[in-house]
Amino acid sequence: MEFVLLIFLPIVAALFIPLLFKRMKRIHTGWFVLAVPLILFLYYATYISSTMEGGHAVSELRWIPSMGISFVSYIDGLSLLFSLLITGIGSLVVLYSIFYLDKNKEKLGNFYVYLLLFMSAMLGVVQSDNVISLYLFWELTSISSFLLIGYWYTRDRSRFGALKSMMITVFGGLMMLGGFVLLGIMGDTYSIRELIAAAPNFVGHDYFTLALVLLLLGAFTKSAQFPFYIWLPDAMEAPTPVSAYLHSATMVKAGLYLVARFTPIFAFSEVWVWLVTGIGLLTLFWGSFFAVKQTDLKAILAFSTVSQLGLIMSLLGAGAITFHSDDAVFKFAMFAAIFHLINHATFKGSLFMIAGIVDHETGTRDIRKLGGLMSIMPVSFTVAFIGSMSMAGLPPFNGFLSKEMFLQSMLAIRQFELFQFDTWSILFPVIAWIASVFTFVYSFYFVFRTFAGKRKEGQLPQEPHEAPAGMLISPVILGILVVGIFFIPNLVAKWLIKPAVAAIQPNLYQQPADVDIHVAAWHGFDSVELWLTVGVILIGALLYASLTKWQKFYGLQPANFSLNALYDGMMNFSEKGMNRISRFYMTGLIRTYMIYIFSFISVAVLVILFVQDAFVVDMDSFAHIGVYSIINAVVLILAVCFVLLSKTRLAAIISLGAVGYSVALFFVIFKAPDLALTQLVIETVSVALFLLAFKYLPALKDHGESVKTKMTNGIVALGVGITVTLVALSAHSQKLIPSIAQFYKDTVKTEAGGGNIVNVILVDYRGFDTLFEIAVLSIAGIGVLGMIKLRLARKENSDENK
């Protein structure tokens, strides 16, 4: 079976959802949906055994093979890990949503369609071997996220958040596409595996760094790294199952996946190590620091997610060091990254679900109104406690293990000597430690402000009570995992982490089994990490105790001096600012537009005429000047002047007629009798037309044009005139190739059977022109008829009059 098709299973299932939702009113649609991730989870789980051995599976669905674009599902340790996360957490989230979303009030049809869409997209992202299809699914995650955040689309905040997340992530996606294209050009393939194989040749390529930066833009925006994280807090407007699923466990990890996946290609670059580690660490600090400022439960979790993503990102960056140094101290980083990724999915998922439960049961997520729920919601509290402590990095929870490894990796960076790390590397453990302190603080802040302390009576919109059992199943399962992983970390490592690590670091390991890292909760008293953790707990506890005293200092940050303000400013600029800019030159006046056009014509053409040395006047090529021509020219000029100066429309039209007749005379002079005839008759008919139309036209006025306006017009007009003249002279002086006219003279009698060459050209050689030229005339005729006879506006007016 082609398992690439399984990626599309959720989408296919989604097609039936609206039907099921309509027909099966009595059963919650979620139950049908649940089967999809469950089946997929079980299916993908069967691959564990093979990836543990270092095996991989490939399945291809051709899309545009001629451009090297196809859907290739490539399952190795890394993608399997993500696939399992997606389907596993997905199942739990769907289960949770069945109880969270009311089947009578909500448009479940839409909800599950979006959710399944997302599931497909996410599976596609992590399994795609082809960068183009990776991009396809990448954007699809952005879109489904957009739809899910905007699920309650009548709310302003939802729409705002949806747009914000989409703008930022799609921006990143587009940049990433640029990076992919550059990679494709460098490696002449879109397949990631082939790119990895060709990667050593890329170093030093002009595009290498650019591709790297573009790709990282994609990863950073998706994984909510600084400064792009701002969309994530606003994305919390989505229903909580969505937040738990997309915005903590899976979608935001796509960026991490991307970084991990492309590590073998880019890790050779100094920029990569610096950027990934540095931005990751900065995000870690930034997120944890501002998480404490928040008052909305989900916002706290959002910032904590940001910070945890930063943590994993920095670990991925640190892991890239192994491509530059064989020192064994660096190899923990990648392992820690994957390990923490799993742990984060478990504890953050559970925390979000609890936040949802609190919201669902109390009607608010404002932490200032909550408190003392411990006694009312004991199960929820327990799960929240487990999750929070894990997040804070305390034993006996899985977060402790990965946190230790994280600190260990950051400490190890000090020993890295390339790329000027020797100067700056001390900053890494310091920032990491400070961030850990704040992580500790917000974890406590989240769980104890909600559940401990006194109940604030009367502040809650509804009477709180424990959630229904069904809603608790998913968080409890995750809570059990949190604790469970602490006790069996090496088993998890064997099944999941090592295959993934081996996939990321092919330079180090041939087999997953080669990953010689053993996770231990206890490293002995001499390990620095232990003392750092102790320090975190001590200082963290101190800070938490004094929280109320210093939390208010967050208020010092000016509101219009933040990244959000920047985004708002940009959006505002894109509406009002653009409007203002546009107003500046879009005057709605045809004269302005004409001046733009004419100025461009004369300036551009004149400049190019001289730049290209094209201006040549060759007097020899000119015919001699005849007397009649001069006389006629004078007449023509006079007539033109009269057209310009005439005060009455009749004089103007007579002068225009005079211009026409003298043009006709030129035709006579230059041996063009047919033209002369036509011009004369047309001129007369035109004049008659003008006279006809004058009945309906006003007298000639200049409408108070100022002298300045006239001057401008004059200058522009002169520019055009000079341009035309100069180009004409140059073109005529450079008759490089004789005209094809001789042919007509030779064949007109013999082959066309005519005598008047012009007429024969018109009806025979170039009869096609004539056919359509009379079409023009006909269309003008029927157009005039329609214009005069059909007056919709007037009809409306007369209706109004009645």
Binding site: W63, L177, G178, I581, S582, I590, V605, I608, S739, A793
Partner: protein, 493 residues
Amino acid sequence: MINLLLFPIIIPFLFAIVLLFFKERIMLQRGLAVVGLLAALAASLFLVHTVKQDGVQTITLGSWPAPFGITMVSDMFSALLVTTTIVITLLVVIYSFTSIGEAREHYFYYSAILFMITGVNGAFTTGDIFNMFVFFEVLLIASYVLIVLGGEKRQLRESIKYILINVVSSALFVITVAYLYSVVGTLNMADISVKITQVGQPGIITVIAVLMLIVFGIKGSIFPLYFWLPGSYAAPPIPVLALFGALLTKVGVYAIMRTYTLFFVHHTDFTHGLLMILAILTIIAGCIGALAYFDLKQIVIYNIVIAVGVILFGAAQMNESGLSGAVFYLIHDMLIKGALFFLIGIIIYVTGTSDLRKMGGLMKTHASLGWFYLIAAFGLAGIPPLSGFIGKLLIVEGAFQADHIWGSIIILASSLVVLLSVIRIFIYAFWGEPQALPATASQPYKKMMVPTVLLIVLSVLYGIGTEWLVPYMTDASNVLLQPSIYIDAVLKE
């Protein structure tokens, strides 16, 4: 069937003429228009097939040898454009049944449409520079008729501007042809190419190249020449707007692409560099406009400008990826613009306004409209696997290959602006609190949805079925890339 390539031009022309005889019989007019377009469509599909099989089709009218008579040339590029044109027109005509109103139908509305696509197809097919002028005039005068038909106040006001601009550009076209004729002494496009190669494109030819760019740029609405477009295009009724938006600017773009790949290929540093800079400025200008307004029509109209910039940017790369990307994107844009205009037409019909801020919550009442709109919007923004993606991908790839890094990044970023502008419509019109809607019958709504959905489905298929199109597109871009194919086909003797 040596005349085959003429049929897509002649059949609409014939039916346009026949319609003149049946001014009062609307049903007959509708029927004839559809029959004519279907016949033309069949002919054009057959033409595409033939071109695929036998290579470039040419015919020199009146049996005169090539540079002397008028040559019509149907290579894959033009054949595809012709086919797309007819498809869109067919759907526009069907869309018009319900939306244009009987008054306009009485005054040669369908006739004008058919005349217009005669001109459009002719311009796509002709191999003679002056004949192209004539076809331009046919399509222009037909477009004048369409833009003014109905005689509403705003229509009249904007028509004046539209016509004025085009009269100027036509005059410019004529003088440019005259300059060209003076220098190389021929009008046949293949022959011009040969002769320019003979003399090695001296400075004067470069000047003419720029003039050509200006001439076609006014029609194709490139940067300093596009200003007239937003106002004028907003005036006519939606079906006409769809037709204009989908076809007219594309004729200018086609002409630029044709001349810049066939004639002026010897100093590409200068000419194509200029084209590229203008293309980028066009994109930026379009982006500003697309964001600046809260008027449905304006937003989509400015997106035309952006698309023109993107296509020309691709064409300016003069490499395989860039050109085939441009071809892909050109046809995509014709389809999707048509679809988008249909959609906003329906939105305006349903809400009775084109001001975004007066809309909201249509998702509750017109969900399917919303979904189709969303698909079209994503297609426009180039989200894979919809139609806009491949073209943009190839254009970006071509630009990177040609070392135009910032240009490609601007193209990518412009997709974001495009997305923002169209998603804004979605957010304002379909999301948000439902607004009171004027009472409208659901029958016209459904009837208007039919062609709209067809067009969207077509554009989706265009994206998904790219693989089937690739051989055609490769043929199309090959002709552009290697003028010799074109020249040999025309001057075969």
